[in-house]
């Protein structure tokens, strides 16, 4: 089919959670973040891709699945715990269809029963507990482009040593190869945080493109000829795509944003608080405290108190998601026609969102995406959906621009990750990196227990680098958990470092830490060596 479209739409979803896995507890609250996102976003997205493919609907989507998330999806322990998690919810949903029979909540109770059954079917029968296989399938079909991210979502502009930048990128690329059978073509830099020059380390891993917040491109030098509507090449030759604000706004804006519609599901009325205590207790955590369990029976309703919320109507909400998808497509068509006329070339509109927005925060968001893909495929000719790789294949001739330092955080730079709540972290983090580089340089060929200890040191350093800890301190949510995590990784690193330097490694200590922090089983500590880093930078 000839390409008569007036421009391109590239939809990019960033899927990430920090590495949270606590084998030392039988039941751990923060692990729920992963299970909730699995039930509400990751598996429902796979469900959408399955249906579209079965129907023959062509679609394109780009999705980061960050290395911590890959490692959690592949982890045996978390897979078992996830089975327990959805199993309990399915059990409750089945009871609920009996309890709510002949009430106005029956439809929504039935919806949850269907939903959790489908999750079980996909998880067990389709993917045999390995959801990454599911994502890989759609990548191999050419519908989905999976991109990577820094190894632990490290915030690169606040690193002092290039070894740290290299390690974040190299470990990520290796992990990607292990899970998806080829190298990553693109990367989502954690927090879209870009530090000019770091792109050489992307290039060293064969990564061809990354994404920037709008001002990263438009404050670039020289002035970008097409604004954010064409990618630019960094001096290293790696391409940078800029975020389109109009489509970002459309989903998020208060007045016109979709997720706030009164007919959508209300996030705050949750069965964990609504049901009779003894009845719901088996579905709460072991401490028996009432918390959200992810099943909600009400619609947003309007500006009323939580107790005045009206029952949710799944069919009505689904229809609404379809009409919002139509509206979104209409607006992109007009935007692309206008840009095409103005620029004199086919623009690429890059719409970037957190994946967890769809399904988890905005419950009907995955329905919205499904309708959007279908409508774009069947109902119009103005827009062609592409992945960034496809775009670069079609339009390899782009301007060379040095993008500006930028992030997608509040105020556009580094303040979210560097302020009074978290600036104390950096002297410790930098010291760990310095010591890790020292170790990697000092022991070029370690083996046996020493090698295991050095590898574990590297795991502790990268886990501490995760931008999530600083972020959670800033927003004040899970501030205590994130502080504890950062402190724990620092202690574990320093403990191992002192044992290695003092020549008195304790097997038991090492074993315990290996058991707790098992991310990147194949990691090689030499990734932190100055030699390897310089080689990568020169490549």
């Amino acid at each position: 089919m000839p390409n008569k479209a007036k421009g391109y739409l590239s939809l990019v979803l960033h899927a990430h959670l920090p590495f949270i896995r606590h084998p030392e507890y039988e039941d751990f609250l923060e692990e729920d973040w992963f299970f909730e996102a699995m039930c509400e976003t990751y598996i429902p997205l796979l469900d959408v891709y399955e249906r579209l493919t079965a129907e023959g609907t062509d679609f394109r989507v780009t999705m980061s699945i960050t290395p911590p998330l890959c490692n959690m999806m592949a982890d045996e322990l978390l897979r078992e715990r996830f089975r327990r998690y959805y199993g309990l919810r399915l059990e409750l949903a089945e009871k609920e269809t009996v309890r709510t029979r002949n009430t106005k909540f029956y439809d929504v109770a039935k919806m949850y029963e269907t939903k959790f059954r489908r999750i079980r079917e996909l998880y067990e029968d389709y993917y045999h507990g390995k959801v990454l296989e599911g994502f890989k399938k759609f990548q191999d079909l050419g519908k989905l482009e999976i991109i990577t991210c820094g190894a632990t979502h490290g915030f690169l502009p606040l690193e002092l040593r290039k070894e740290a930048v290299h390690a974040q990128i190299k470990l990520a690329a290796d992990d990607y190869r292990k899970h998806f059978g080829r190298g990553p073509r693109g990367i989502w830099l954690a927090e879209c945080a870009y530090n000019p020059g770091d792109d050489v380390f992307l290039k060293a891993q064969g990564i061809r493109y990354f994404f920037l917040e709008t001002h990263g491109i438009i404050y670039g030098s020289p002035r970008p000829r097409y604004g954010v509507y064409a990618p630019v090449y960094c001096p290293s030759g790696v391409a940078a795509f800029g975020r389109d604000m109009e489509s970002a706004q459309q989903v998020w804006s208060a007045e016109t944003g979709y997720p706030g519609d009164h007919r959508y599901r209300e996030f705050y009325r949750d069965l964990g608080y609504d049901l009779e205590y003894d009845y719901v207790k088996p579905y709460l955590h072991q401490d028996g405290v009432r918390r959200n369990i992810g099943m909600k029976y009400c619609r947003i309703t309007g500006k009323v108190g939580l107790h005045e919320k009206a029952p949710y109507d799944p069919a009505e909400a689904r229809e609404l998601a379809a009409s919002h998808a139509g509206n979104f497509m209409f607006n992109r068509e007009r935007q692309i026609e206008h840009l095409n006329h103005f620029l004199g070339k086919k623009p690429v509109v890059v719409s970037m969102y957190d994946a967890e927005l769809y399904g988890h925060w905005w419950y009907e968001g995955t329905d919205f995406l499904e309708f959007l893909f279908k409508k774009i495929h069947h109902d119009q000719k103005t827009i062609k959906m592409v992945t960034p790789s496809e775009y670069l294949g079609l339009h390899p001739d782009n301007q060379v621009v040095q993008p500006s330092m930028s992030t997608w955080g509040d105020k556009g730079y580094n303040e979210v990750w560097l302020n009074g709540t978290n600036d104390w972290m950096y002297r410790h983090l930098h010291k760990q990196v310095e010591r890790m580089v020292e170790l990697a340089n000092k022991f070029p060929n370690a083996d046996g227990t020493l090698k295991r200890a050095l590898n574990q040191c590297a795991r502790e350093v990268v886990l501490g680098m995760s931008s999530d800890w600083a972020f959670l301190m800033t927003v004040g949510t899970a501030k205590s958990y994130s502080t504890k995590r950062f402190v724990a990784h620092t202690h574990r690193f320093n403990g191992l470092y002192e044992q290695i330097m003092g020549g008195r490694l304790e097997e038991g200590y090492l074993k315990d830490i290996e058991w707790r922090d098992n991310i990147f089983p194949e990691l090689n500590y030499r990734v932190f060596s100055t030699e390897e880093t310089e080689k990568a930078a020169k490549n």
Binding site: T214, D423, T474
Partner: protein
Amino acid sequence: MTSSGQIKTGNTAPEAEHKALPQGYGTTEAALLPRDPNWMFLYWEITENSLKNLRRQRGEDVLQKGRQVIRVYDASGSADGGAPSEYFDIPVMFEAGSWYVNVREGGRAYRCEVGLSMPDGSFLGLVRTNTVKLPGGRVSDVTDENWMAVTADFDKLLQLSGVEYIGKGSGEVAKSLAQRWEMLRAVFSRASSWGVSSMSSQAPRKPEQEKKFWLVADCELILYGATEPDAFVTVSGRRVNLNPDGTFSMRFALPDGAADLPVKALSRDETGSRGIDIKVTRATLNDAE
């Protein structure tokens, strides 16, 4: 789960548990980090040994004679080996250990040195940082001959690219989302997606079109006090390191609006406590705006 959380004015102190980590590592060293076009963060450690050496070389009273400062160099020209040409000093106490440094001009490279400014005009540097290149925070003046657009077109392009949203529009969005955010925080222990960044609260720059006659004025706040040398003192909930004689001072940025600075002191044996609450209001009227 990432994306941008909103920076909250009330949440400024670290969680107490971070004190489980060492205060320092026994090495005299310093580092400089970029925050945004107008701010950098600097942390340092100066060991007892370094101070002892200094006293041995320059006399026991050198710390009393000299002014403890951060010297901030404009290092933009020195990449090719030349000495930094311009600098300014910020008075600090070595014990502070870290500081936010405000610079008027983004887009330039800076380097800092913590040391003593002596009465005879000399400078005794104790520890210097790496160099940091700050982002410019505005559209580049450089155009590309091969990819040039006429200026009017470029302004339109900036609009289409969302400059409007970034500078102004997102304030509104941010506000309404903040409400949703608050609820999310209250109910659920996770950060939400945000989606639109705002750059509304940046320090003002010199107007881009140079006028013949111009004026730049700004104002900062210095808070100081004294108590028993072994007391535990906090300002706005944040621990303050006291000087050996029990005095302390802090320097703050002072944006328009009201700032509340509660100062609390707790005696070492925790039997006595005193508090002084300082409220500051700033209003700036600029006839050029």
